[in-house]
């Protein structure tokens, strides 16, 4: 590049009308992509759950397809208006209720002393879980990811 050309570039205005059009197009594209991302993003509702006993999946249910899979004899299902899953472990049992209409999952009874899981809030999204420590039973939503940063008290 000649010195003359360098001088021309330096003396030129940073924003010429044509540049502004290009910047505008990039900004519009960025905004459109941003809107598109949130438009197609799921609303965070509960898509389904997996029930684990001692880190083994014993039951799975999808709200999307309204289908369930039983992977172990320790999970017994009663299919009514609400789906109820009776979990029996060596230490005791939990009755899990899946409410299709409310798209929520909760533990309705447990035969342990603390019954912390019964008092846990129902699962309504992918950001929580229910745990019964005495029975080593956990209910995790589809897509649940422990980011190690969020702690519920």
């Amino acid at each position: 590049m000649s010195l003359e050309k360098v001088r021309q570039v330096r003396s030129g205005r940073f924003f010429r009308p044509a540049d502004l059009i290009i910047y505008g197009i990039i900004a519009a594209a960025a905004i459109a992509l941003f809107i598109l991302f949130f438009a197609i993003k799921k609303d965070g509702g509960l898509e389904g759950v997996r029930i684990f006993v001692r880190d083994e999946v014993v039951f799975e249910y999808s709200f999307e397809s309204d289908e369930y899979k039983v992977f172990s004899s320790c999970a017994e299902v009663v299919n009514g208006e609400k789906l109820t899953v009776n979990i029996t472990t060596e230490e005791g049992g939990n009755l899990v209720e899946i409410d299709r209409a409310a798209r929520s999952v909760r533990v309705v009874s447990a035969d342990c002393r603390s019954r912390d899981c019964v008092y846990s809030p129902p699962l309504t999204g992918a950001d929580g879980f229910i745990c019964c420590m005495p029975h080593h039973m956990r209910i995790l939503p589809f897509g649940y990811k422990d980011d190690g940063k969020t702690v519920i008290i």
Binding site: F14, A18, D19, I22, Y23, I26, A30, A102, S104, R113, S114, R115, D116, Y119, P121, P122, T124, G125, D127, G128, C131, M133, P134, D146, D147, G148, K149, T150, V151, I152, I153
Partner: protein
């Protein structure tokens, strides 16, 4: 037009670097090691961030996890009111005016209990043992009908008995290099109540006390990142692995309607202890007056009435200070009711952050000492009131 190249490069760099930053925070160089415990009718989790592939650190974590397990078993053996061999049970079984030898854990936990009892004017009182039992909150069956609720004259006796906690004295002595600890009951606690004698239940601070001990052990073993959570009601936080960031603490929503979020508020925490009390944990619903509407009977007993708290305060969370203190303070604030709690927070809890949730005639309310910029409201049903100090609520 050539300036478009640096602009495009800038956007491209952002697109590449931002996900990279997020990935490094996600723990590329380290990971969380867990251990779970089931003690004191509850669950606890130890979660420590460790360097990936560091065998020495992994072994150190295993040793820490074992120590925490031993500590929890020791605390249960000291404080459990249900275990007849515990030191608190020995104290409960002692006659009026006698001194009982207790261990260090029982001594320290009782010391905290006495301190908060005095600070709160008796709003925190562990001597509600008989009421806790009468309402079925110590592992028994809760009343299933109004007829099964404890009689008023019994409750009156329990309240009178609980007042004797103020007279409990503690002392320690050292003989030949060995420290011994003692707790003495005041005389005549049973005078008005016939057969019954003063008994205490340290369930209100036991988890917090254990969280404080776990916090100390985590530091002793050289770990700086992670936390110990006991029953999701007391948590001792260390730093977050990315030191420029914090943990997101979500406070459980005590009034869920099937659509509301699980938490009512999210705030950031690190290097501090948090405890919460609420009427959404361990409760039963019962129509006690026959009006067709069930009332909530929660496990938090008001020592002045001897009955479960039903004053509109539905949850209190306290951060800062020791977890055992926070545990007792959150219980006391639940007992005080909204106005009493606001006055107490302004006068006595200057150094702590408090979140108090209330169910009022106007709806759900959230009172906090935090500034609006310090938290995000997850459930918009709560009307937010910032406690501005000097007794004011903004």
């Amino acid at each position: 037009m050539k300036k478009i190249i640096p602009v495009c490069c800038f956007f491209l760099a952002c697109a590449i670097l931002l996900p990279c930053c997020a990935h490094s925070c996600d723990g590329e160089n380290g990971y969380y090691q867990y251990d779970y415990y089931g003690v004191m009718n509850s669950d606890a989790v130890l979660k420590i961030y460790a360097e990936r592939g560091d065998e020495e650190e992994e072994n150190r974590f295993k040793e820490l996890a074992r120590k925490v397990g031993e500590m929890l078993a020791g605390v249960e053996k000291s404080l459990s009111a249900e275990n007849p061999d515990s030191f608190i049970s020995r104290f409960n079984a002692a006659s009026d005016g006698t001194e009982t030898e207790i261990d260090y854990n029982a001594y320290k936990a009782l010391s905290v209990a006495k301190e908060i009892y005095n600070l709160t004017g008796g709003a925190y009182n562990p001597a509600v043992y008989y009421s806790v039992k009468a309402y079925g909150f110590n592992g028994g069956e809760p009343p299933k009908s109004a007829a099964e609720l404890p009689a008023d004259e019994d409750i009156f006796t329990y309240v009178e008995l609980s007042k004797a906690f103020g007279g409990v004295t503690l002392r320690e002595e050292e003989k030949e290099g060995v420290k011994r600890y003692y707790a003495a009951k005041p005389v005549n606690t049973a005078a008005e109540s016939g057969e019954l004698a003063l008994k205490i239940d340290l369930g209100g601070i036991g988890k917090g006390y254990a969280a404080d001990l776990a916090d100390g052990l985590i530091g002793e073993y050289g770990f700086s990142y992670g936390y110990f959570s006991f029953g999701s009601s007391s948590i001792a936080f260390k730093k977050y692995p990315d030191e420029s960031s914090c943990y997101n603490l979500r406070i459980s929503n005590p009034r869920l309607d099937g659509k509301s979020p699980q938490s009512c508020l999210t705030a950031t925490v690190k290097d501090e202890s948090v405890s919460t009390s609420g009427d959404n944990v361990n409760y039963f619903l019962l129509d006690s007056d026959g009006d067709g509407i069930s009332e909530r009977f929660c496990h938090i007993i008001d020592p002045f009435t001897g009955k479960p708290v039903q004053n509109g305060v539905i949850s209190v969370t306290v951060t800062g200070g020791a977890a055992a203190e926070n545990d007792a303070l959150s219980t006391a604030l639940m007992v005080m009711g909204k106005d009493g709690a606001l006055k107490f927070i302004n006068e006595k809890l200057g150094g702590r952050r408090v979140v108090m949730l209330c169910e009022e005639e106007s709806g759900l309310s959230l009172y906090t000492t935090m500034a609006l910029s310090e938290f995000t409201l997850d459930d918009p049903r709560y009307a937010v009131h910032c406690i501005a100090g000097g007794g004011d609520v903004a």
